[in-house]
Structure formats: C-alpha cells, structure tokens
C-alpha cells in the first residue's frame, strides 16, 4: 500500500489541461478586449465581466453606495421594472448575477445559444440603462439594511468588521463594503446614479467568455453589450496604509464559541517572492487537512473544526489572514498554538518533504480548477485583472515547481511575524 502510494507521487507529471483550452484575445471594432475560449460542445456561453475599483470607489460619506447600486442593476432597466426584468431573464433561461467587492464589481452571466441576442440585450439594459427607480432603491435598501442588522449580532461579521477597522482605519478597506445602517439609510437616487457612473466604465473593464461563441461573433457582441458605457469612471482610490500592531483584541459577545480573525501584512501579487509565499502558506494553513495549523490545532488537540490562513493580495494593500473558532474556554489555547506555529515556521522553515507535498498538491490540483465554462471564464478574467500574460496557465505549474526550500524559508522568515500577528476575538473568551 505505502509503496504503491509513493510510486504514484513520484510519477506525478504535469497534467495536460483541458484538451481544447486555447485562450484567444479578441478586440472588438470599438476597442473592447476580451479573452475567449471557444467550447462549442454545449450550446451556451459563460461570460464574466469585471470593473476594477469596486466598492472602494464609494464617495466620502457614501459608504455602501456601490454595493447598493450593484444590487439594483437587476431591479429594473429600460422600460422594465424589477419583476419585468426578472421575468424576461427567466423566459430566456438566462442567469445574471451582480456583486460588489472591495476591488471589483463583478457580473457573471450564462445564456443559451438559441436566444443569445435577446439575453445580451437584456444584460446590456441592466448595465447601461438601469432604472434606479425610487421604489426599487427603497426596497433593495431594506434588504441591505436587514443584512446589516443581522451582521451586528453575527460573531463572524463582527470579527471581520473589527479587523478591517483596525487594519485600515478611514480607507474604504477599513469598513464593510455594504456600508452601515446609517450610511445606507442616507443614500439618495443621485448617489446611486453617481456610483454607477463612478464604477461601471470602460477604462476599468475586463471580460472573459467561454462556450458556444466564435471570435467573429464575440467582437460585435462586446460593442453592443458594453460600448455605450462611459469611457472613464472615478479615479482609483489610493493605497491603504496598514495600521495593525500585534496583540489580541476581544470584542465581548455572549455566545458559546469564540470566533477569531487574525493577520498581519502580506505580500503583493506581483512580488517575485509571491509563489514562494503561496507555497509556504499551503504548508502553514492553506492546504486543507494536511496543513500545520490543521494538524496542530484540530487533528492533535481537537480545539476547532477548522483553522485556515490565506494570502490576501488586494489592489491597494496586501494582507496575510486567517481564522479559527473554538469554545470560549479553549480559544486561548488555539491562539497560542497558532502563534507558536507562526514562530516555528519563521524560525525553522519547512522540510523538503513538506515542500514536495505542497508542490504536488498545488500542481496537481491546478487542472482541477478548469471544471466548467463558468469556472474557466472566472479564471481568465482574474488573470487579466492580475495582469498575467495570456499564456500564464501553461507556465503556472513551472513557477510553483521552481520554488526552492531556501526561497520558502527566506520568505517565511521575512513575512511571518508571530509577535506582529493581531487577533480579533469575538465571544466570551477565557484567559485572554
């Protein structure tokens, strides 16, 4: 059994990616660029659209405007009210989803070949001619506020909000992108219209399409869909200054299990050590059941159901974050073990065996991500936003394999700061 397993590890060669994966860059007559994978075997298209900037483009005092605006895109457009729009999408069996994050407004669409033009007309209406009727604003605002109200008493949301505020203060990264009850209550229709102009513009646009569509069809489609958006939007926000110091902050909340979010400064996506840091994190806390944190905190001590760490390279700041949840009388021990693991990796580095296993996991798992038209489109649009070359997919595993133990250990020593690690703990923790 063992021997057989070892042999298998050794023969693991780079898997071929999806047989037909061939990304082409398409530029429309009007100058809009998209990445395309033609996949005619199933008669539908997955389309991913991104606008950089996202909720960080909220004007001062208007926190939550971009988020509310994004939620309103499907709530009426052109002559259609919210229900008319939804009925039209249902009739076509098309699905559109709209969301706003710290750095991005994202639109995911999927539609059938047989009614592609009608689906795209409808999607265009929502992006270019949203109605933002006062009725819809008030109704969706009520939904957002209901969510914000729930977040006020949700330990995870409290931890996230507190951590953001400590880390980034007044920068948009320092508060939840859906705003506060106060800020959202005060938003006017003018604010929503301004948020639309600020966030949805062609100078920050990224597009990827996968499915039953040709290069020749995609170009004109892009112009029709997105050509009427304004050329430019709001200026991008400045870099966020990280104002975190090591320590533990307890937010008292009467609940049986304490929730902790933790982190410190991370590493930029374009840093030449990014891959070494990425591999290191797989070993520390990002690799599932085998990571050191899972082994020490869960498997050996039974202190939690899950503990994770992850690199969070955002557009305007880079963080290294993690989370854990343990009963109030056990969270102190969990935190102590996490800090010890942080220190052990910074000081002692990783073993060659750990490195090889992490690489095998990363390189082997990479092809598994390409498991559907929507997934491939999301990967491609993400590559564009990360400014990666169009042939990145073919070279990515080589970059992982090129990471040496020396690289990982050097980056671990530089990046991991056990004393600088800040924990926000929500609950009634004992001994903290």
């Amino acid at each position: 059994m063992m021997r057989f397993v070892l042999t298998c590890v050794l023969v693991l060669a780079a898997l071929p990616l999806r047989a037909g994966v061939e990304i082409r860059e398409v530029t429309s007559p009007g100058g809009i660029t998209a990445w395309l994978v033609e996949e005619p075997s199933i008669p539908f298209v997955a389309l991913e659209i991104r606008f950089r900037g996202g909720a960080s483009l909220d004007a001062p005092g208007k926190r939550g405007a971009i988020n509310l605006m994004t939620g309103l895109l499907e709530e009426g457009a052109g002559d259609l009210d919210a229900r008319g729009f939804a009925r039209a999408a249902e009739s076509l069996a098309a699905s559109f989803s709209y969301s706003a994050g710290d750095d991005t407004v994202s639109i995911s669409a999927r539609f059938l070949t047989e009614n592609r033009d009608q689906a795209l007309d409808l999607l265009r209406l929502s992006l270019v001619e949203p109605a933002f009727s006062q009725k819809a604003i008030d109704r969706v605002r009520g939904q957002v506020i209901s969510g914000l109200r729930s977040d006020e008493k949700d330990p995870n949301a409290i931890a996230g909000r507190t951590f953001k505020a400590l880390a980034f203060g007044d920068h948009p990264y320092g508060s939840p992108s859906n705003g506060t009850i106060e800020s959202v209550s005060a938003l006017t229709r003018e604010d929503i219209v301004a948020a639309h102009k600020a966030a949805l513009a062609r100078d920050r646009l990224y597009v990827a399409a996968v499915g039953d569509i040709t290069e020749a069809e995609l170009g004109p489609m892009l112009d029709r869909l997105l050509g009427d958006l304004p050329e430019t939007g709001a200026p991008m926000p400045g870099d966020a200054e990280l104002s975190l110091e090591g320590g533990v902050e307890v937010v008292a909340f009467d609940t049986p299990q304490s929730v902790a979010h933790f982190g410190h400064a991370g590493i930029d996506r374009h840093d030449e050590d990014f891959f070494a840091a990425y591999v290191m994190n797989v070993i520390l806390g990002g690799g599932g059941f085998e990571s050191r944190l899972m082994t020490e905190v869960r498997e050996k001590r039974g202190l939690t159901y899950g503990v994770y760490s992850y690199l969070a390279p955002k557009d305007r700041a880079a963080l290294y974050l993690g989370s854990v949840a343990s009963a109030n009388d056990r969270i102190a021990e969990a935190i102590s073990v996490i800090r010890d693991e942080w220190r052990r990796l910074a000081q002692e580095g990783v073993t060659q065996d750990e490195l090889e296993k992490a690489k095998a996991l990363l390189t082997g798992a990479y092809p598994l991500r390409f498991d559907g038209n929507g997934a491939i489109a999301r990967i491609m649009v993400g590559m564009q936003m990360d400014d990666l070359p169009i042939d990145y997919i073919a070279t990515r595993n080589d970059k992982v394999n090129a990471v040496t133990r020396e690289d990982v250990n050097r980056v671990a020593a530089e990046l991991l700061d056990p004393d600088g690690l800040h924990f926000v703990v929500v609950g009634k923790p004992e001994g903290l």
């Binding site: 919210a82 069996a93 007309d121 330990p155 609940t255 599932g288 059941f289 001590r301 296993k357 559907g372």
Partner: protein
Amino acid sequence: MRFLAGVATLVMAALPLRAEDMVTDFRLENGMQVVVIEDHRAPVVMHMVWYRAGAADETPGVSGVAHFLEHLLFKGTETLEPGEFSATVAANGGRDNAFTSYDYTAYFQRIAADRLELMMQMESDRMVNLQLDEKDILTERDVIIEERNQRVENSPAALMREQLDAAQYLNHRYGVPIIGWRHEMEALSLEDALAYYRQYYAPNNAILVVAGDVEPAAVRTFAETYYGVIPPNPELEPRVRPTEPPQTAARRMVFEDPRVAQPYLRRSYLAPERDAGDQETAAALTILAEILGGGTTSFLAEKLQFDAQLAVYTGAWYRGTSFDDTTFEFVVVPAEGVSLAEAEAAMDQAMKDFMADGVDPAQLERIKMQLRASQIYARDDVERLANRYGRALASGLTIEDVKAWPDVLQAVTEEDILRAAEAVLDLDTSVTGWLRAPQADAEVGQ
C-alpha cells in the same frame, strides 16, 4: 419585455444531447451499485462512494454517530496511518472530503483521472478495514463538538431550526439533528461508532459514482477488483423507519435569543417525497415551491415584497429527494416596523389568494423553460450530476427515476399543482416558528 414575447415557446424545440445521455450504470455481484457519468473535456475524475445510511438510521440515544463515524473514516485502517488517506489524495494533487445527511453518508475525491484506481483501492479499504483507538475518538469527538458550536450553538437561526424540526417530526428521526444532540454527542463511544460501521458499511449498502474523464468499462474493471471482492453484509435489514402519526393540531413555537437582530418566521408542513416510480406529486410540489417562493417573480414576493411591502424576503422550499416524508417550507422576513404576527397573517392571506387565483400560466411556462435549460447547463457541471445521482439512489430512487424526472416535471399541470397544494398546505397540520430577540430587548425590527 415585448421583444421577448413568444421566445419561450419556440426555443428548445430540437433538444440537444441531454445530461442523462452521459450516464451508464451497472451492479457488482456483491450488490454494489455503480454509476458512471462521462465528461471527457478535462482529464479529471470525481470518485464518490455513497452509503445508504445517514443520521436517520441511527439507534436512539447515539445521535450524531453517523456523522462522527464519517470523521473517523479519515483516521486510518490496517494499512493506512491516521490522516494518510487525505495526505495521499493531496500528494496526488487531489482534494477529498465527506458529508453526512439524514439518508446517506458520502465520501469523495476529486483528482486527475489517472489516479482513479488508487482512490478505489483506498476507499474500498476503509469500507471494511477501519482501525480506531480510544485516543482517536476522544480528540475527534472534541472536533465534532466544535463543529456543532460553529454550525449550531453560535447561530440562533440554527438552534431554532433544530427545535422546529423536532416539532415537525414527533416519531421519525428526521426530528433529531444530523450532527447530534449535544448531550448525546458528548457521550459517543468507540463502540457506538463501530456498531454503526459494521451494520451499514458494506458493498450491498453502497453506491459508487464516478464522473469525469473515464470509460465505463475501465470503471467496471477497477470496481470489480477493489469493491467487488468485499463480501456483502447478509445482516443488512430493509430500511424501515418509524412513521409519523397523524398530526391533529397545528404546532407553534417562539424561539427567543438575544443574538437575534433580524426576526423572521418559518412555516413547515409534512409532505410526500419522490418515490420510485411515483414522482408526480413530488414534481408538482417542486414546481409549487418555485411558483410560491422561487425569487423575485414568485407569488409570495409579488404579494409581500412588491405589492404590500411587508417583507424584505420571502422563500419557499421543497426537498423532494428524501427517503421518507419530507417537508414543504416557507420563510418570511418582515420589513422594518412589521410584526411577525402581521407578516404571518399576510403570508396566510397570500396563500388563500393563491388557492383562489390558481397558477399564472406564463409563470408556469417560465419555470418549465428554466427546467429545460437546466438540462443543458447540467452538462457543464459533472460534479452536480454526480451528486444528483448519488443523492437520489441513496434516497430510495432508481436510475430510471432520475432519468425520468425532467419529463415528469415538464408534464406537471396547473391541476396537479393545486391538488398537491391543497393536500399538503393545511394550516391544521402546520408547524410555525418565530425567531426573535427576547421581547424586553426587542428594540429592532418590531
């Protein structure tokens, strides 16, 4: 809207390849059922073993043992060290996990297609060769208690849900949480876990689902080599569980917790599930749930969110894939300033209106159009197909039932829907729960 008129009726005339056409099935001599779903677009495979055993098959007193055992299956066998199973999957570039429900427990690995044999070797090994000691089980019991803390104790919504399920099912194990009641979890023993394991983990109680870049003949060869040699468990009993007595009174509860910031109400009714060869009522209820609470265009959204603006959210669900009687449920989240009593009255009135008005034919056609299209979209998501088959087969349905389901749904008429609604949605046999903060602290939302 106008430019769309007529679209729904003319599309899909020439239905392309259906998701069902990707499926092959057979049975091993020891009784293990095998389903192969082919998708050759990527060199990847999903390997799943589903046991026809879940939380509802537990013995009274050891609630949570099915899920506890699921965790313990990662602890090692006669030839694998604790944790080695997942470590081996990871070292081969794959991902693995497992899940437990009322009617099934399933284990899966997603991995490069050329590692399928290794996965079968390891999964068949732990079907019968599990090796546990007292220490494994104590640490892992702490883990599942932290899991319960995370999923349930920290969430008033989940705590309320447990109470509501317990009120819905007086006699059937669907009224006991899958993760277990805390006091019983704390006492789960090694022998409890092993007794469940010996009873239910056997090839004649399992379904193998392999989906992805595989050939059915190769799957059969591997399956015969690894699973086919395991003897069936002759002691396996037919799956007969206690049934619910007639409900003779509406049941109501108010769950109060200071951690509730947004009050809401849930309503549930006992409802028939999909049965082998008899899925028509379940199909009608599936579409009924879409009509009533399937999103922006649903009947309840129309009445409560758009017309009256009494709710910020409404929803209706029906989980037809279940071994025994299931539930049909509603949720209403009242708008600010609207009480739970007002919201409930509005929901009840809306349901009366629905029964009087009947089904909007345009809405029914839109729902059917989406169901037809989902046959196309399903072919892009082989994992979802794998789950669909595994869940159905573990819930008492046959391959033929799964394949027939899309047509059964398309055949549903307005009369079917109203008849099903009439039979199930009877206020005298309802269970209603309110979730809110204790009244003294209820400064918000009331």
